[in-house]
């Protein structure tokens, strides 16, 4: 997995909830998990047109209490599939867990990151080292990256990626390979 992202910053500010912020609640409660069905609706309540504007390598910049509310992962699933990363000042733990489980490249606890960027600035970030650069202003800073143990889960494709890997290893380890 490439932890270095280079693209444009999409700045959102504080208190953007997962439900009806990242993605419409109806998709979360409808248990939609197909990223292709989710992507067109990313941030549509707070920033219509985001899905068309964002490309792989871009990074969402969030403020405090970002990705709050019930930890529905649909928004993270869509971001991950788009190849877009995320950096925020703070987020609830259950949302952090949903981000890790979705295999999303992200960092949290990055106090002051909102002040570093204007919407649309060029950005380069290494999610493994925590080094961050505003390519438009030239300002750079380092933040603590996510724990290595959590990054390993992300690297494996999140919880579902781990599950898929485990199942294929289990299948090849058993000679019969037949499910009960």
């Amino acid at each position: 997995m490439n932890w270095v992202f280079r693209g444009r910053a999409h700045k959102f500010g504080d208190d953007v909830p997962l439900d009806d912020g990242f993605i419409p609640f109806r998709l979360a409660i409808g248990r939609v998990t197909d990223p292709q069905k989710l992507i067109p609706h990313l941030f549509e309540d707070v920033r219509p047109g985001f899905a068309e504007a964002a490309t792989a390598g871009d990074v969402v910049i969030g403020g405090t209490d970002f990705a709050s509310g019930k930890p529905h992962a649909q928004g993270f699933i869509a971001l991950q599939a788009l190849g877009v990363g995320m950096i925020c000042e703070s987020m609830p733990y259950n949302s952090l867990r949903a981000g890790v489980s979705s295999g999303l490249a992200f960092m949290t606890g990055c106090e002051g990151v909102s002040d570093m960027f204007e919407d649309g600035d060029g950005i380069q970030v290494d999610f493994a080292s925590g080094h961050l650069e505003n390519l438009s202003s030239g300002e750079s800073r380092s933040f603590p990256p996510l724990d290595g143990s959590l990054r390993q889960i992300i690297e494996a494709g999140g919880s579902k990626g781990l599950l898929r890997r485990w199942w294929s290893e289990t299948q090849s380890a058993t000679s019969s390979g037949e499910p009960r």
Binding site: D147, K160, W167
Partner: protein, 428 residues
Amino acid sequence: MGLTAIEKHLARASSAARVVPGDIVHPDPDLVIVHDGYIATAYRELSGLGIHRVFDPDRVMFVTDHDVIHATPLAAERARQNRLVAEKWGISRFYDVGQGGQGHVFPMEKGLVRPGMFLLCYDMHCTNFGAVGALALRTGSEIITVLAQGTIWVQVPHTIKVELTGKMAPGVMARDLGFRLAADFVSGRHGAYDYRAIEFHGPGLHQLPVAERIALCNTLTEIGICATYFAPDEQTAKWYRDRGLAGGEIVTADPDAGYESELAVDLSALEPQAVLPGGEKTIPLQAVELGRAVDHAYLGSCGSGTFDDLVVAADILRGRTVAAGTRFLVTPGSNVTIARLEREGLGDVFRKAGAILLPAGCGPCAGGTMGPLGSGETSICTAAVNNFGRMGAKDAAIFLASPATVAASAVAGAISDPRRFLEERSAT
């Protein structure tokens, strides 16, 4: 440094000598609980990966509690699929419609959850099981990993110690304490709380029966507390003894356990509280718009549906009637509780007062699939949450309060202080 009770549970379930906050462990659950809303989805997700079995059917339990009356054809279809999944996976412990009740309550009443157990569950309110000295952690949609592999990664949380002293005044309940404590955490008064576990200690514990402990565990969960815990004591033993059940293993914190923070609460200083609509603010009941008319009052749900909760309400209702213009819905937590209500004549108290007894389960709190609110209506209830639109119309106002306050308000037809009714009762 010693271990907190939460750390001991996690160490033991992970076959580790010790764990420290931040560690990633893979604990082995004694039981896994999945609720009706996710059974069919879990099956679809796992089948999509080519996985057609669960790790151990005997350690998996299904419960139907969020939608027990299948109010729509779609709900009936989902329930039908749930039954097929139970059959395909060989889940014998399937507490379907009419068989168990609310899945965060009845397992403690039937002895399916006992002290010392470790559980991984789909739904966040599994934290209720901390009331009897079990540890249960929520997985949400990641329950599919648990169903397949029998475990999942868990990061060991920090633990906060809450010391309870004093005794609550009549008319004040643990639900009021939970509301106050949650609000004080959110305001930053007690420091960090996100993904923290809370252990309750102190001399004030002994007056809190398990029913009250359940309410306390339940209320704190919504703010992001990942686990709440009462080490088993005489109250816990009484809970199981009264039901003719065996207890379990007692896990307690070491005397030199390392807590992240410690705080003390004087129960005698506590007053009835109310959470204002939208869940943004909790204030003393006396500061609420007392006398505001209520269209809908609702008692039950995962935090306040035990027999003890219903007794508190019945004491207020006995010889009185629910006000005209107010509908009072009562959802017992379990079939065990319904049977006991009838045995002790309390079902009649509710019915004579004009309350509506709903089947055991989540009741209106599960998204308003039954007993919802209309536009502009006001409800006072013991639901787990009160965000706008939780129980029907988005512009309905939902106040959260204790069982005593809800029952008093149903009788008055307006938001009321239960202490007034208790005083009237003691004067007669």
